[in-house]
Amino acid sequence: MHAALTVLAILFGWLFTVATAWALGTLLLRKLSLVFYRWEEPLFAFLIGAALLSAIVFVLCAAHLAWKALFLVLGLAIILYALRSGAHKPRGNSFPPLPQRWRWVFVVIFTAFTFIYFINALEPESSPDGMSYHLGVVAKYQRTHGFPRITTDMYASLSEGIELLFLWAFEFGRHSAAALVHFAFFMALVFLILSYARRIGRPVVGIAAALITYLSPVVGLDGTIAYIDVGIAAVLFALFYLLQIWDRDRNPQLLLPIGILAGFSYAVKYTAFLAVPYAIGFIAWKLCRARKPMLRPVLLVSMLALAFILPWMVKSWIEVANPFSPFANRIFPNPYVHISFEDTYRKFMRIYALTSYWQIPWQVTVRGDLTTGLIGPLFLLTPLALLALRFREGRQVLLAGFIFGLPYFTNVGTRFLIPAIPFISLSLALALSGVEWLLLTLVIAHAISCWPNVVQLYCSPAGWRLIKVSPQAAFRIQPQEAYLKGQPAYVLAQMLEDLVPADAKVFVFTQPAASYTSRQMLVGYEGAFNELLQDILWIPMFRDFQPTRILAFQFPQRELRKVRVVQTESVPEGQWSVSELRVFANGHELPRDREWRLTAHPNPWDVQLAFDNGPVTRWRTWQPPAPGMYLEIDFARNQKLDSVIVESSGDTSVTKIKLEGVGDDGKWTTVAGAPNESVRPSRISLRQAATAELKSRGIRYLLITDDNIGANDFQLYSKLWGMTSIAQRGTARLYYIE
């Protein structure tokens, strides 16, 4: 009974979300008197309605009104209003029937794959990013009924257009309802591809391209879990499709859904930002060539797009002082995401574990381990897609695929190819459309090669793919708890749920399944504050991070109002840090005075860490050192000084500094050039000092897994750390700081 109710709740959450989106979209399309083919309207209605519903949820979250009851009332009102308006009555002409043979091919293959896809979507959510951040933020919004200000999780700063639809579904059916919403986007994409090809009079191409996309292993897996890549592919394809219709009809009413979808693309995923220049450029170019006025249409599309983009920028601006967070931190410096993190993240995403870009074709089509997923061996024929250039439609499809595929080079993970895959599939099918038996053979071969049991015969054992589905788990005959207990991330989340008080914060190096716990986790790499905690914990274990490098500036006594230590070296791969900055006169250190004004460039927010007498805290640039960076004291009055000591660490040994000061003349002058350098090893363990720092920042719990740096040290010397291991599950230990 409980299992049946759970499944019903999931199905309700899913269908209610899809129905609300569809109703909103249909109302808009009918209001605009836009007439499509019968198959097209519900697909466009769902995607445009999804954009509108997402915007509504955004407003509700911003107003902290994201309550289940409100969603229910609002959704039902929208659906009922749409039904009363006759939205359910089909409009438009039907496409000519599909060729008999191809129709059967489509039905048989589509049905088989849909069965496993649906089961996978219905299973308890266990995907890495789905469990952790896509639904992690959704669960937070659900608990707080809106947007809480999150400054320690860079994922929460990304645009979350589809996640807000997940939230609508999550309220009723939790994780699986959200995954099924993504599956709805997947289905919409497949039928949009088919419809587009039917519209241009090439139904065979449509069936082939729809299947090529649908069966692709990475698309099939991604589209049936709580990810968003297939969702963005659907939005981008719908945008392309509407632009093609507009190009033919020049119906100005089409510009509204075009603007909405262009803006929604960015709202779903930053990497889809090219949708906006693509849409605007397309319209401007076509109107320019036709010698028609373009200002108004371009402005309309731009304004509508902005209406969907700006809320996300403003949210990030307000929450983390950077409209493009977690990127563009050099342009918008802020205390929430370090530039060094952004640099490292970008660098990794551009290469993953590849040793050469030449590995990409084989990896993304066949092996799938180094780039996380595979699109299928058929895509080795992608160069043939260029033959589609001989058709007008082919050129349009290839242009869109090229533009939407460009962001791939910022992240070479296979799933970042998904937005381009529908276009590649269409152009490949178009290219081979003249040899129908060959196209049919390729589609059948693709179907066989993409069936999960066959994929495992050629892909890497570590390739990210759909391995098997479990109807028992999907229909909750096997309880969710029992199914998920094989997922370490879930087990850890449950451990936190069981053992950590509700208001406590837990520091972790690697992310557990955040969506399955309500405890606040600070993940080492996910925010500037978290990276600081990580640094504090690593300093006792790594001598190079400790304040052992003593740089002493000695000079004839002078009266100075300000002093600053200035970096003179450029070190592209390093960082500059100062553990402590001390000033002396006549052999005595000047006590830090409340009148002093401390500042630093960059990272002025952490300047206090160089003046706190803490051996495990340090001010860091968190970006490569460059000449002109400084750490400064303004004494607020003239102060006699004869030496300045900078306590730094071994990992900054390639940096060089000088001392500058401001005297009576009010001008900065060099007080001393190169300092005398000596080494002062740390004679006591700094472990307890580190945990004391964490405690002072409100963190009493640490979750450490065996693969974390220093795991062995934490375990063996927990007493030296001042911690107690209070639980162990699998390879993870939960520590409490005494």
Partner: protein
Amino acid sequence: MVEMSDPDSSQHIVKDIYEPFGSTWRWTARQPTVKVLVYATDNVRLSSDFTIWSEGLQQTGPIELSFFVNGHLLDKVRCATAGYQHFEKAVPADWLSADTESTISVDVDKLYVSPHDGKKFGFILTRLGFLR
């Protein structure tokens, strides 16, 4: 201090210390080595409790144990009589580090060879580590 009776002791053992036979001590081989962390590097003493087996001594004759800390020879102890022994000696602070584990090893110059299976044994170790 690494107590051979401690269930966690194997995590400190680097090499040449046999599994216990349900005992609070363990047999060593030629170069028993452990890794331990010190809280501070000053006023640290290396300490060990061990036993020389009488039957083994009959076969090997007097044996010499060399105590090393992070590769530095701290002392040599000649053992000519069987029975329990205690070793303790101050360790220079600059041999030690408070951030990473220090390695303590004891070199045995002659090993007892079991006439039954040819297995080699050094001495019987009860504890080995630092005191402060």
